[in-house]
């Protein structure tokens, strides 16, 4: 994996790109999780 990379530019191109993809997944995931966590409370008043 790392063996085929020879420049910092290329390394960062790969890792940062991966991070943006993961960040996007996380953003979708956390919304789903938030709804899962709070669903019972959104209908009724939060205590």
């Amino acid at each position: 994996m790392t063996e085929s990379i020879h420049t910092l530019q290329e390394f960062m191109f790969q890792t940062k790109g991966m991070c943006y993809l993961l960040a996007l997944c996380f953003f979708v995931g956390i919304i789903t999780f938030w709804r899962f966590l709070n669903r019972n409370d959104l209908d009724q008043d939060m205590d």
Binding site: T15, L22, G29, F36
Partner: protein, 390 residues
Amino acid sequence: MSEHSTAVERPLFSPFNVIASLIILFGLWLTYLRFTGGLAAVSNLDHNNPWGIWIGFDLLCGVALAAGGYTTAAAVEIFGMKKYHAAVRPAILTGFLGYSMVAFALLYDVGQPWRLPYPFIISPGVTSVMFEVGACVMLYLTVLFLEFSPVALEWIGARKLRRVIVRLTILLTIFGVLLSTLHQSSLGAMFLLVPSKLHPLWYSPYLPVFFFVSSIAAGLSMVIFEGTLAHRNFHDKMDKEHLEASRRVVLGFGRGASLVLAGYFAIKVFGIAIGNNWHYLATNYGLWFMVEMLGFVALPCFLFAIGVRERNATVIKWAAFGTILGIILNRLNVVLICFNWQLPAEARYFPNWKEIGISVFVVTVGIVLYRFIVTRMPVFYEHPDFKEKH
């Protein structure tokens, strides 16, 4: 106070007192060995493994698990969640005792404990992350002492002094959160120096952030866990407000811990991505990493969420317990288990039973102090002379 008259009798020769006394006597003997024979007489520390469980467990886990003090104080005093007010005093007490025990354990670990003030009065090494950790821990211990002092002052009835300190509450809380942010993260930053010794799955430029975020989860979980134990043992000491608030605390803190763990899981994954360390996941250390991440981060996170959704306090308490184990596992991984991973097996560290003995002794002293305080001072109830509106 009506609860007082119904307080259970605590006999002098209870099983707890007997066992605690034996452990403390044993600890004093180990103390004698430590300060007459040196570190080698009681520990398996060596030149390759200079830090063992006193740093890994007593210091790193102690500080992380004492994070309940600043998280609870911040939630109530700064973010205005007054409904958790009853949780503040127990959390501050646990924090204060936790940090005191950290300092106590350090007296055994460092070579010349009487020189511990040297960094601040004789020769400050300001380039060291440890200098900052030391300064923050020392200041925060003072802040916790002040934050806790109204409890003791109510107990002895020093009204005037108490009033002065209570007026400082918000200042102390903000200062406490500032110091905690700094040293919780810096404990992780201490390992930034060792990219060649700490396994890449645990080493990350994000280490300070990992340590800080996980300390919040640890603090919230400790409040829940400690509350559970306290209910079992000191139910008779709790007033109506405390008892009514405890369910609210479990649900509210469970919700908070669930979200924090979700964020922590995400940034840990980002950490692998940023270092391009995916290929290590297929190794034995990778398997161990996944045990930590899935079993002790993702699972408690999910359990918390279920417990909050279903209003099930038991599930939340188990999740809190899992989180605490996870934090301990993480800190031990960073300092001991995945540290020096490049060394051959025979050069690796495993604690000596006397080392474990001193750790057990330190924790026991903490528990004894905790019992002494909560059975005498107004921690789980409001002192009748100092009732306040919240």
